[in-house]
């Protein structure tokens, strides 16, 4: 876009931009990324500013503008959930293995299957990961650059949306767990290896000694 274009079509005033973002997001069921929103607006619009104004406007309302990762969505206020009982989705109860695995992926991401098994002390049932992936709460991340190049698992935007989290950094208790060293693979004072779970036919030689600093950095 050139200077000339901008001059020829000046962006609409901010209150109009806010209305536009409101309309676009209200109409969508799924969170929309900043990029998608911008694409739908006339040229030259400032979507981030409009979003901030809109979020403030809906503060305390029955519907809230929420940030979900890089995306935005309107969702009903959680305190009014009781009004929507008819609409409650009766989701299949997740097994303990599934919820634990989900938590481990969320708090330790990106995490390899071997690391999950090391934490739980038991082999990860293939179906458990499948279920989480099918729910679109978990997806495959980048391969770990260690021998065997095991795949890692990370949580998705759908996960954030489902659990009402702005980002993976907002996971409950994350800071405390990190401070307690419980997101490390070793106790704080360094330590020995433990036979724990050794799966002979598991070639995911995930390296449990990855520093936790880079957690959440890349997703």
């Amino acid at each position: 876009m050139t200077e000339t274009d901008l001059q020829r079509f000046p962006p609409p005033p901010m209150d109009q931009q806010e209305r536009m973002v409101e309309a676009v997001l209200f109409a969508a069921a799924e969170p929309m990324s900043l990029r998608e929103i911008t694409q739908r607006l006339p040229v030259g619009c400032d979507a981030p500013e409009a979003l901030q104004a809109l979020r403030a406007r809906y503060d305390g309302r029955g519907v809230q503008l929420l940030r979900v990762g890089d995306a935005w969505a309107f969702r009903t206020a959680a305190d009014l959930g009781f009004l929507m009982q008819e609409q409650t989705v009766e989701s299949r109860r997740l097994s303990r293995a599934a919820t634990e695995t989900l938590a481990i992926i969320a708090y330790h991401q990106p995490v390899t299957r071997a690391e999950i098994e090391e934490i739980r002390g038991v082999a990860v049932n293939r179906g458990t990961l499948d279920q989480l992936i099918e729910l679109e709460w978990v997806r495959v991340g980048r391969r770990r650059q260690t021998p065997g190049r095991p795949v890692t698992f990370v949580v998705t935007e759908t996960f954030l949306d489902h659990f009402g989290l702005e980002s993976a950094r907002d996971l409950p208790g994350l800071a405390e767990l990190r401070a307690a060293g419980l997101l490390e693979s070793r106790p704080p004072g360094d330590a020995p290896l433990f036979p724990a779970h050794t799966d002979a036919d598991d070639d995911e030689t995930g390296q449990p000694g990855v520093p936790a600093e880079d957690l959440f950095e890349d997703e």
Partner: protein, 285 residues
């Protein structure tokens, strides 16, 4: 090795809490009837629905709760005893434990012996205390993950407490394909088509073009009769000397033909002065 938690083959797997379930009466073997309340309680702790556990670490975590202390203060020695007793009991009950549980039992027995014996200064690798600390760490970490997973599932979830727009408005997705074709493409395509025709009949439909082949043929035929210097213009074919366009073409072709024949040594070519007429003659034998 099985892919899932060990299941021992006593009826359907029980996955609901509490994980500790007393042995049903009929399962109690003769000779194992507990005598006292204390013993009976101990048995209830130890005799466990294995299928309720998600591996040895989970079992250890459950056992550690009986110590009623913070996980950091858990007595690994005591825990090892409890675990080994559990495995013993399971064996007595002829419950087949999966390999995972036995590996852990062996390791705990080893750890226990290391913890009890005075440290061997020669021994390599981690100390018994470090190993015990790591086990405590693992238990604590698993416990922490268990707690946050409960917190996570207890959040206001989409479709439970929070809802998306029930009637999302359809976005008309018009996928416009802008077909790219410039004038250049058009002209190039046309030129391609036309030149394809052009090359087949190349010279034939050129009424005003005298080709070098024609000139060669003509000069080659005439040169035998030309013993003396003769003007190039005299070699032009009939009917090609009046119209300037045709004359230019014929002259150029004839000149090119004479050059070629001169190169072949068939004739000689002479020009006495700048812009003077070109003359040619058969090369003397």
């Amino acid at each position: 090795m099985p892919d899932s938690a060990p299941i021992f083959s006593r009826g359907p797997a029980m996955t609901k809490v509490p994980y500790l379930t007393p042995v049903p009466d009929q399962a109690a073997l003769p000779g194992l009837e507990p005598q006292s309340v204390a013993e009976r309680q101990a048995d209830e702790v130890l005799v466990v629905d294995v299928s309720g556990f998600e591996g040895p670490l989970d079992l250890l975590l459950t056992l550690s709760r009986t110590q009623k202390v913070d996980l950091m203060q858990v007595s690994v020695l005591q825990l090892a005893d409890q675990y080994l007793a559990f495995v013993e009991q399971a064996r007595a009950l002829r419950i087949e434990l999966a390999a995972d549980y036995l590996v852990m039992a062996a390791w705990l027995a080893y750890l226990k012996s290391r913890l009890l014996l005075p440290p061997d200064p020669e021994a390599e690798g981690p100390s018994a205390e470090d190993m015990a600390a790591h086990l405590a760490f693992q238990l604590e970490r698993l416990q922490a993950m268990r707690e946050v997973s409960a917190q996570l599932m207890g959040r206001d979830r989409l479709g439970h407490q929070r809802f998306a727009r029930g009637a999302p408005e359809t976005v008309v997705r018009s996928r416009q394909v802008a077909w790219q074709a410039g004038l250049i493409d058009l002209m190039r395509a046309y030129a391609r088509l036309r030149t394809r025709d052009e090359f087949r009949p190349y010279a034939f439909d050129r009424t005003d073009v005298f080709t070098m082949e024609q000139a060669l043929e003509r000069v080659r035929g005439l040169i035998g009769y030309v013993g003396d210097w003769t003007s190039l213009a005299d070699f032009l074919p009939d009917g090609w000397d009046m119209d300037p366009k045709r004359r230019r073409s014929a002259t150029a072709a004839t000149f090119a033909a004479t050059l070629e024949l001169a190169r072949q040594g068939k004739l000689e070519l002479r020009q006495t002065d700048t812009f003077a007429p070109l003359t040619i003659r058969r090369r003397p034998e």
